[in-house]
């Protein structure tokens, strides 16, 4: 869209002074009564030249064309969906709903009668007596199932104890944001050039493996916190309004830096979702994220499993590789769900976080194929950083 400001050096009004132009527009604005243009024709005579009169007629014709444009009707269900959206994001509840929850209370709202279904709840004891046979069978099935679970858990625990090498002690540390972060203290051999396990990160960021059966890398990373002080949002419905403020960030963990790179590169080449929900614009600098509220501290320490056939090998300790990308996403719950789904499909663990300040996305160029360009079919979008911690070298 090219936005223009007349300078009147050229074009139809060239050479006319501001007063004359105002007079022309004023004449063109003359109201007509019921299709009778005599007032306009009369006003035309006040203009000095044929050129001015022709311009007034043209401006009036533009008015007529604008008024005659068809705009269509509002989409069906507009009010209902807006009402739902407003209620969802506010967490507000319809007063009628609240009234219905209050036992015996009659909503004191004037208006047409509202039909309401009252659910009869049978007392638990009466239900037990009436359906004792079904409950008995259900209890027996539950007992059998629980016994099976106990046996499996017991066998695995004994197996783990037998496999565990000496010198490894595990502890659980809570980092304050709800993650149970496994911490480890170990008497690793002196030739371990990675340093002590607990030396590389801030409090609460220490993660190490249980040095038994190698777990999938992604499950270790799942316990790496982004930062205790970066608030989480649980659902896409909560996240969508935050996205519009520019403070939303997607935090993902990947078991493979290589996979992270290839996935994000692939996403940068396409627009995702049936409705072009999102597209990846490019790599985002960490500086911008720090300013937005990403704590500046060292990345989490990750313990990697060694070769399966070398039980005595010292397990290398590595730092998760942190990378960040910028996506353009439609500010809707559906679009955010599409982002999450796409990343989860690639094996990433995904959650939405809220930064203290909006992320400055101005440094990231639009992608060559025009990530936010109308030509791709994308609609109104908001920038969304995607921060990914990946296990390197896998």
């Amino acid at each position: 869209m090219t936005q223009r400001q007349s300078n009147h050096d050229e074009g139809p009004f060239a050479g006319l002074d501001a007063r004359t132009i105002e007079a022309i527009v004023s004449v063109a604005e003359t109201a007509s009564a019921g299709g009778d243009d005599s007032a306009f024709e009369s006003a035309l005579r006040s203009l000095a030249s044929d050129r001015e009169r022709a311009l007034a007629r043209a401006v009036r014709a533009d008015r007529g064309s604008l008024r005659a444009l068809e705009h269509g009707c509002a989409p069906a269900g507009l009010f209902a969906s807006a009402m739902d959206a407003a209620t969802l994001s506010d967490g507000a509840i319809d007063p009628l709903d609240v009234a219905a929850l209050e036992a015996g209370a009659v909503p004191s709202i004037d208006g047409p009668p509202v039909s309401r279904v009252t659910v009869y709840r049978e007392p638990v004891l009466a239900r037990l007596v009436r359906r004792r046979r079904e409950f008995g069978m259900m209890a027996a099935a539950l007992l059998v199932f629980a016994s099976g679970l106990a046996i499996v858990a017991g066998v695995r625990a004994v197996g783990a104890l037998l496999d565990r090498p000496a010198g490894v002690v595990e502890a659980e540390r809570t980092d304050g944001d709800g993650f149970g972060t496994p911490a480890i203290a170990t008497d690793t051999p002196d030739d371990d050039d990675t340093g002590p396990l607990t030396s590389g990160a801030g409090q609460g960021d220490v993660v190490a493996s249980a040095v038994g059966e190698p777990e999938p890398a992604a499950s270790w990373l799942a316990s790496v916190p982004l930062a205790a002080e970066v608030e989480r949002v649980a659902s896409v419905f909560e996240a969508a309004p935050v996205l519009e403020t520019g403070r939303l960030v997607v935090y993902a963990r990947s078991g493979s830096a290589e996979r992270t790179g290839s996935l994000m590169a692939a996403l940068a080449e396409q627009v995702v979702g049936l409705d072009h929900s999102f597209g990846v614009r490019g790599v985002l600098e960490m500086d911008g994220l720090s300013e937005a509220g990403l704590p500046e501290r060292r990345q989490p320490v990750i313990a990697m499993a060694g070769d399966d056939d070398d039980d005595d090998a010292v397990r290398p300790i590595v730092l998760a590789e942190r990378s960040a990308w910028l996506a353009d996403v439609r500010p809707s719950p559906a679009a955010l769900a599409a982002v999450r789904k796409r990343l989860e499909e690639a094996g990433f663990t995904v959650e939405f976080r809220v930064f203290a300040n909006p992320v400055d996305a101005s440094g990231v160029e639009a992608s060559p194929r025009g990530g936010a360009d109308d030509a791709t079919g994308m609609r109104r979008t908001s920038p969304l950083p995607i921060v990914i911690d990946s296990l390197p070298g896998r």
Binding site: R4, S6, E22, A58, H71, F79, A86, I109, A366
Partner: protein, 212 residues
């Protein structure tokens, strides 16, 4: 000026869906029409109209009933549209329609009324309407806003001032500048189309000559 009943307003302020609906639903087509002309395509207009209505529902507590509800809602709608233009303008990669490329408007013909003194026949959905729509899209958002309120919503100057929070003098001068800008845009679009048409004729003539 139609103001809602105190009872309906009170219930709307309390979050009563029915009361809010009775205020907003009669205005929905006007909200949509405003958005449609402010953004230029139906999809964005539908999304913006929903945004505007969501904002109105959330902010209904700020409507005190002293002005017409439609004026208040128009103001909310226009603010939503102008915010959309601002955020869109900040992002890079906005499509820029070239004045010299008539292909940007492939289905827009050469209308008779573009030149000063031209005909004033309004052909709904025809080339003339397409030209005016294309011209409108080229205006600055604030110019577009006054023309939309004046010609699409058919508001008087006072109501436009109330909707845009502008003094009367500013409304008049802005409408004047917007009309001039629209006329200039339309004339330029017509000229571009003429150039493209001439070029196409020349190319066809050259091809015919080569074929002979």
């Amino acid at each position: 000026v139609s103001r809602p009943d105190a009872d309906i307003l009170e219930r709307a302020h309390a979050g009563d869906r029915e009361a809010i609906g009775s205020l907003i639903e009669p205005e929905l087509d006007r909200v949509y029409a405003t958005c449609r002309r402010m953004v230029g395509n139906a999809d964005d207009a539908a999304e913006l109209a929903q945004d505007a209505v969501v904002r109105a529902i959330r902010g209904i507590g700020t409507y005190d009933g002293r002005s017409a509800f439609s004026t208040w809602l128009t103001r909310v709608t226009m603010n939503t549209c102008l915010s959309w233009h601002r955020s869109r303008g900040r992002r890079k990669g906005i499509r820029a329609a070239s004045l010299d490329n008539a292909d940007a408007f492939p289905d827009r013909g050469t209308g008779p009324g573009g030149e000063p003194g031209g005909g004033d026949g309004v052909q709904e959905g025809g080339p003339r309407a397409s030209l005016v729509e294309a011209g409108l899209e080229r205006l600055k958002p604030e110019h577009r806003a006054v023309l939309v309120l004046r010609d699409v919503r058919e508001l008087d100057y006072d109501a436009i001032g109330a909707a845009l929070d502008l003094p009367l003098g500013t409304v008049k001068s802005r409408i004047s500048r917007a009309r001039v800008a629209l006329r200039e845009a339309i004339v330029e679009l017509e000229a571009a189309q003429m150039r493209a048409s001439t070029k196409a004729d020349t190319t066809a003539g050259t091809d015919d000559a080569a074929a002979e």
